[in-house]
């Protein structure tokens, strides 16, 4: 039996707080959750980290001039429309990523594991992994108090590659940037559909009554689980309880989230599309869809912290869509071969292209008295500068948006720790901290001067 076509709009617009946000890549019409944002009077502070791996061709990245008169170098050209929102910071050092005597290789993994923690990771392939709590999670503890999700961790790579983690290091170090505490890395999600459902629920019916019913269902399941897990825990020897404690913590997290969801259930619902299952076939589509989801999460004020691993260290991804069939990591060991270096710079620029897409979306989304771009602070960069030599100094770092003094290129003194910048960002975001990893103090130029 053949049925004639049923009309289903392929493109719909999100109508929230006057915003029109096209979601061309999302498909499958379902009504979903609301857009609110914080109240217009006090725009929320938000924080996004985006990480790219395998080093950067620094000569194409570093602006020639310092200060406000800098010109965007080739790799950063896609950011031209947002130049005044961008601060290029060069010269920072990530000392915790250096190898200690006898430790040998593993610079890629250490670059990722230290990027937000500032703590030298323990070299192990076993379960005794250890780094430090990451600064995005420190931010999430404060910024995430009022939102359903304290943070959102996203990536694009499948972490199913076997035997591909760098010598002697557990894959956990490379698969995430976010650490809830020094021994608990937070997994990152690469399926747009799963992220969507995490944000807006997996229910197909989003009327307020249905949502409240679902919340009650969830709550009674969680309540009864807490009772059962607690009972089970008592039967175990104290050293064995760790995993159940994790489970209990997770349950409490979700309870808190449900509480928020219930408080916010009266919100009016716009119509929005839900991504189809699976992974988009090109890097750009995938990256943009993930950025779309982050914009949505901010717009609906479901979270105020996102951490996005755009590609993991040692990634062998090939970028055939921009004519680069060579694996990224292999290419990054370019041996100063001009052809390889040119390709690497092309990948660097391609990544910045996706960032520019995100900035465009943020700028087009009104928030408070301005746009989301005014209220999201973004840290973009890599824990390696020269990929050929695995150097962890003079790192490629961008600070974008938010309340920072952007529109400048700042060169810091040699050996200034990366954590000084992060410490400063945390304080700027209203997360008062005295120290972080190997930090030695705050950087005044970020918000002052």
């Amino acid at each position: 039996m053949i049925v004639t076509k049923k009309h289903l709009p392929r493109r719909t617009f999100l109508r929230g707080v006057g915003a029109t946000l096209a979601l061309p890549l999302l498909d499958g019409m379902v009504p979903a959750f609301a857009a609110v944002g914080a109240s217009a009077a006090t725009p929320a502070r938000r924080f996004t980290v985006a990480y790219v791996p395998n080093g950067i061709q620094m000569e194409k990245w570093t602006p020639a001039a310092e200060g406000t008169a800098f010109e965007l170098p080739p790799t950063l050209q896609p950011l031209a429309p947002f130049r005044d929102h961008v601060m290029v910071v060069t010269g920072l050092t990530n000392r915790p990523a250096f190898s200690v005597t006898g430790e040998g290789t593993g610079d890629h993994v250490r670059a990722a594991a230290t990027f937000l923690t500032g703590v030298h990771p323990k070299k192990t392939e076993g379960p005794d992994i250890r780094a430090g709590v990451s600064m995005d999670q420190i931010a999430a503890r404060v910024l995430g108090k009022d939102t359903q999700l304290s943070s959102l961790e996203l990536c694009l790579d499948s972490n199913e590659l076997i035997g591909a983690c760098e010598a002697g290091y557990s894959c956990a170090y490379a698969n995430t940037l976010s650490w809830r505490n020094p021994t608990t890395p937070l997994p990152m999600e690469n399926q747009p559909r799963a992220v969507f459902e995490r944000l807006f629920g997996d229910s197909d019916n989003t009327t307020q009554a249905a949502r409240l019913a679902r919340i009650q269902d969830d709550r009674s399941v969680l309540d009864s689980l807490v009772a059962e897990v607690t009972r089970l825990q008592k039967r175990l020897a104290p050293p064995d309880r760790g995993k159940l404690t994790q489970y209990l913590d997770a349950i409490r997290d979700i309870e808190r989230r449900i509480q928020k969801a219930e408080e916010q259930s009266a919100i009016a619902l716009p119509v929005m599309e839900r991504p189809s299952g699976g992974i988009p076939s090109t890097f750009a589509e995938h990256a943009r869809m993930m950025f779309d989801l982050q914009v949505l999460a901010y717009q609906c004020d479901l979270t105020r912290v996102t951490t996005f691993l755009m590609s993991r260290e040692v990634s062998p991804r090939t970028y055939t869509e921009i004519g680069i069939p060579d694996p990224h990591h292999g290419l990054s060991h370019h041996q100063n071969n001009p052809a390889s270096m040119a390709k690497l710079a092309k990948i660097n620029t391609f990544h910045v292209d996706q960032l520019a897409y995100f900035l465009g979306k943020l700028k087009a989304t009104p928030d408070g008295d301005g746009s989301l771009l005014d209220h999201v602070t973004i840290l973009y960069g890599c824990g390696i500068s020269n990929s050929n030599e695995h150097t962890h100094d003079n790192l490629p770092i961008l600070v974008i948006g938010g309340e920072t003094k952007t529109g400048r290129h700042v060169k810091v003194a040699k050996d200034t720790p990366l954590t000084n910048l992060q410490l400063t960002l945390l304080n700027t975001l209203g997360v008062p901290m005295d120290g972080l990893g190997d930090s030695t103090g705050q950087l005044e130029f970020v918000s002052g001067v």
Binding site: M1, I2, V3, T4, K6, D27, G28, S99, T105, D107, E125, G126, P127, E160, L161, I162, G163, A167, G168, C171, A172, T184, L186, P187, E189, A194, D202, D204, N205, A209, A210, L212, A213, Q216, D217, S220, V221, D223, S224, L225, L232, R235, A237, P239, D240, K243, L244, Y247, D249, A250, D253, S276, G277, T320, P325, G330, H333, N337, S340, E389
Partner: protein, 869 residues
């Protein structure tokens, strides 16, 4: 036994004169070779490894030779170094092979005796979370339902496997996914008639050529398309929406010809349509292939609840096109991407539904769940006729009120009795143990809540639940009963008893003592090892009755489980990870260098290796045949790739090629490709793979700041990988490892980076596959490499045994497991190292059968003391 508590218990002090062990003593208690271990150690080892020089931190003069168990970790290290011949290093005085072997044997026998007297089975963590594969298998065995693994995020791995208890952590994100998976699964399994339509999208990989039959589930005379395994939640209508393959600029391919498109459900044709230009399909005429009217065409199908295969494919045309045959473009080329004259293909398919729900149906899941029917008279069969259900609705209303008043009339009582039976059957399987009243209480509370009887439940929810769906309180009793079961099932699926394997110490544990795990724990260890899933009823029954360890029973069960189809998980989960085969999904050969590589070839690689491993493991061959077996499995596409003649058609068949190139694992395209770079072979990667996975001697990581291999510069004369590696090995630091790795890899140089046989390198020079292995064996190609590896058969088997033990236990294999490893090997040797023998001897080993009780709690730590306040 105390066999090794010998005379002269002075211990090896730093004092110069070592007590000489009477070499005859160990021999008296059976089989130990005649050697004076202390003398050999003194002569060859202690010159470096002593208290003063502390070479590698190993103080052999301090280690106890009288009671080897005291220094077991050190001695196991010595045994290993002696076995692989890496110590003493080249250039220093070395014992001859015989002496080294004798010392190794003396040490291992002494260690084994000590272990037999005081076994140390290690301590598997008390809680072991099910990983994604185990979870989906458990759902399959529990509810007769296949669910997508995408319901859950992938798991981290350790020691090369993703079932390592310590590494399997729990995050809020994962817990949310568990909650949502439980909701989806319980709803599908019970078949909630109020389920809302959902859309699932299934895309066809754009690098898959749709010029042949693509799947064993598609009809023989089909071409292209896809077969979707789908679970219809209820009896009802579903819509298949078909989108065609397009060129990069958006034109639908192949519409200038007529193609017959078929949709089949479980092999039965439900629709046949002509797409493209033809007399009865004029839509495309005059507008060429830009016509998109057919795109998104919908086929509505009426389906019964349960699993089904939906096949969407074209009927293969019998006629060959006229004119000159054009050489096929690479799938990655612009020509291919832009060619609208290629035969039509499927781009993606959306499946929506259900619409017009007829009822919950009688799916295999429902048959599995509903082991009884609530006592509601004959009118209420599983399908539930609407009128009967409505009629009875009134009765049930009444009885609910009555129940609330405590009168307990028959209907409600029978409902609850049936619910109890259903839930205890489910919970027993899900929790893998007999269930108690305490287990059932929360489930019944959810049953009542889900059935809208919450005032009876006495459970948490303060307010009666307001289900917005008809399956809630307002529905007819049949639907309400189902709703109750659904709610309780959801609760089962998030219970820690389901999600975690828990091993409890015995009630009165002596701290740090080895004990035999319970029969029930053993049943779970067995099923998760051999099936990656929950035990079945037979295994549970035996364990519950305490008969699992009765003579012969355990072996009989292992053989039964090994023969069962569920043991395929040993191929997909164990071998797939051990040999890195899962990575075949992720390799992307350089399309410029290897334009031939398409999705069809990738899938053929996977199928070949799967079938081959299945025939070896589940066919119960000897482990070493993995390296030598002279047959493989090919279809036409793969045979062409391999140069095997006379193979036609898309289905895979077992062939024994005339030459030995494809023998064993080393001839398989999958492994050769995943150990190559995207654009060239890598003898280093291949050598490393062999050392790690076949010989069990992983090379140390490269030292810092080594220069990478120079790539060929554009414009310059290309040099072969061999030339470039030789330059690399000129550096002595590099050479120390590369002289071990490289010759192994070079022997496979006749296979290019996508596993094709070749005679010339990328430099155009003839392939030179010769080399000298570190043990002095000369090799000059895959055949001699296989022979050389077979000479190390013991190493290979030990590698397999250790990997399999790691996988079986879900923890790393430690020095104290070595006696067990040796025992596993010697037991399996009696049966020619057949897979079943390895599996069985692992099951019988101490680390699998036993466990250490928890170490005594650290004193002075009030935080961990049991709460006494």
């Amino acid at each position: 036994m105390g066999v090794v508590a010998l005379a002269g218990a002075v211990g090896l002090q730093s004092a110069p004169q070592l007590p000489s062990l009477p070499s005859g003593v160990p021999a008296t208690s059976g089989g130990a070779p005649s050697v004076d271990p202390a003398a050999v150690l003194r002569q060859y080892c202690i010159t470096c490894h002593n208290d003063q020089r502390k070479t590698a931190g190993l103080l052999l003069d301090r280690a106890n030779l009288q009671d080897v168990a005291e220094s077991a970790e050190v001695w196991e290290k010595v045994v290993r170094k002696l076995h692989d011949g890496s110590m003493p290093p080249q250039g220093l005085p070395r014992p001859n092979r015989q002496t080294a072997d004798a010392l190794a044997a003396w040490l291992s026998i002494s260690l084994d005796r000590a272990a037999a007297a005081h076994p140390n089975p290690g301590r598997t963590p008390a809680l072991h979370r099910l990983n994604r594969a185990e979870y989906t298998n458990a759902i399959h065995d529990l509810l007769a339902m296949d669910v997508s693994s995408a319901l859950l995020p992938p798991d981290d791995s350790g020691y090369g496997f993703d079932n390592i208890a310590d590494v399997l952590s729990v995050s809020p994100m994962l817990t949310e996914r568990y909650l949502s998976a439980a909701l989806k699964i319980s709803r599908l399994a019970v078949g909630d008639p109020a389920i809302l339509p959902v859309t699932e999208t299934f895309a066809v990989n754009k690098y898959l050529r749709q010029d042949d039959r693509l799947n064993e589930s598609l009809p023989f005379a089909s071409r292209g398309g896809l077969a979707i395994r789908y679970y219809f939640p209820v009896d009802g209508d579903y819509v298949v929406k078909i989108f065609f393959d397009r060129t990069y600029d958006g034109r639908i391919r192949g519409l200038s010809d007529a193609h017959l498109l078929e949709v089949r459900v479980n092999g039965e044709r439900v629709s046949q349509t002509t797409v493209g230009t033809s007399a009865d399909a004029p839509v495309a005429r005059g507008r060429g292939s830009r016509n998109v009217d057919v795109d998104g065409m919908e086929v509505r199908i009426a389906a019964k609840a349960g699993p089904a295969v939906i096949g969407i494919s074209f009927v293969r045309s019998v006629a060959e096109p006229e004119g000159m045959l054009r050489p096929p473009y690479p799938v990655t080329s612009y020509e291919y991407a832009g060619d609208a004259t290629l035969p039509a293909g499927i781009g993606r398919v959306e499946l929506r539904g259900p619409y017009d729900v007829k009822g919950a149906g009688n799916s295999p899941s429902r048959q599995r769940i509903f082991v009884c029917k609530p006592d509601q008279g004959a009118g209420l069969r599983a399908e539930g006729s609407r009128t009967a259900a409505q009629g009875l609705g009134l009765r049930a209303e009444g009885s609910r009120t009555a129940a609330a008043q405590g009168a307990g009339p028959r209907a409600a009582g029978a409902d609850e009795a049936c619910a109890k039976r259903i839930l205890s059957t489910l919970a027993r399987r899900a929790y893998r143990r007999p269930v108690t009243d305490a287990d059932l209480q929360p489930l019944l509370a959810f049953y009542h809540q889900g059935a809208g009887n919450s005032e009876r439940s006495g459970a948490r929810p303060e307010e009666p639940r307001k289900r917005s769906e008809p399956s809630g309180a307002k529905g007819p009793p049949r639907v309400r009963f189902d709703g109750g079961i659904e709610a309780a099932l959801r609760r089962i699926l998030v219970s820690p008893d389901f999600l975690f394997r828990t091993e409890h110490d015995p009630a009165t544990p002596a701290a740090g003592r080895a004990y035999r795990i319970s029969d029930l724990d053993l049943a779970s260890r067995l099923s998760f090892f051999i099936w990656s899933s929950i035990p079945d009823d037979q295994l549970l029954d035996l364990a519950t009755r305490g008969q699992l360890r009765k003579p012969g029973v355990l072996e009989q069960q292992v053989r039964r489980m090994f023969a069962d189809v569920r043991s395929r998980s040993l191929v997909s989960n164990f071998a797939g990870q051990w040999l890195y085969l899962r990575n075949v999904n992720l390799v992307s050969p350089d399309p410029v260098v290897f334009p031939e590589f398409d999705e069809n070839l990738r899938q053929a690689f996977q199928t070949e290796t799967d079938l081959f491993l299945d025939s070896q493991l589940r066919g119960d061959r000897s482990v070493s045949e993995l390296l030598t077996a002279d047959y493989t499995f090919v279809n036409e596409r793969l045979a062409r790739h391999y140069g095997i003649p006379n193979v036609y058609g898309s289905h895979f068949r077992r062939v024994t090629p005339a030459d030995a190139r494809r023998n064993g694992l080393l001839g398989k395209g999958s492994i050769l490709t995943l150990t190559s770079y995207a654009n060239r072979t890598s003898p280093v990667l291949r050598g490393k793979w062999l050392l790690e996975n076949i010989l069990g001697a992983p090379p140390p990581p490269p030292p810092p700041n080594v220069p990478a291999l120079t790539e060929n510069q554009a414009g310059s004369t290309p040099r072969s990988v061999r030339e470039r590696l030789e330059q690399h090995r000129a550096n002595p630091v590099c050479a120390s490892c590369h002289k071990i790795m490289d010759p192994l890899g070079f022997a496979l140089e006749n296979f290019d980076a996508i596993g094709r046989w070749r005679a010339a390198s990328e430099a155009g020079t003839p392939i030179d596959a010769s080399g000298v292995l570190v043990d002095g064996t000369s090799v000059d190609g895959p055949a001699s490499l296989r022979q050389a590896l077979l000479a190390h058969r013991e190493d290979f088997v030990r590698t397999v045994a250790e990997k399999l033990l790691t996988y079986a236990l879900g923890r790393g294999v430690e020095y104290y497991d070595q006696p067990a490893v040796r025992q596993i090997m010697s037991k399996a040797a009696k049966d020619d190292y057949r897979w079943s023998a390895l599996v069985l001897s692992i099951v019988q080993s101490a680390p699998f059968q036993m466990r250490l009780s928890s170490a005594p709690p650290v004193p002075d730590n009030s935080a961990v003391r049991p709460s006494a306040r």
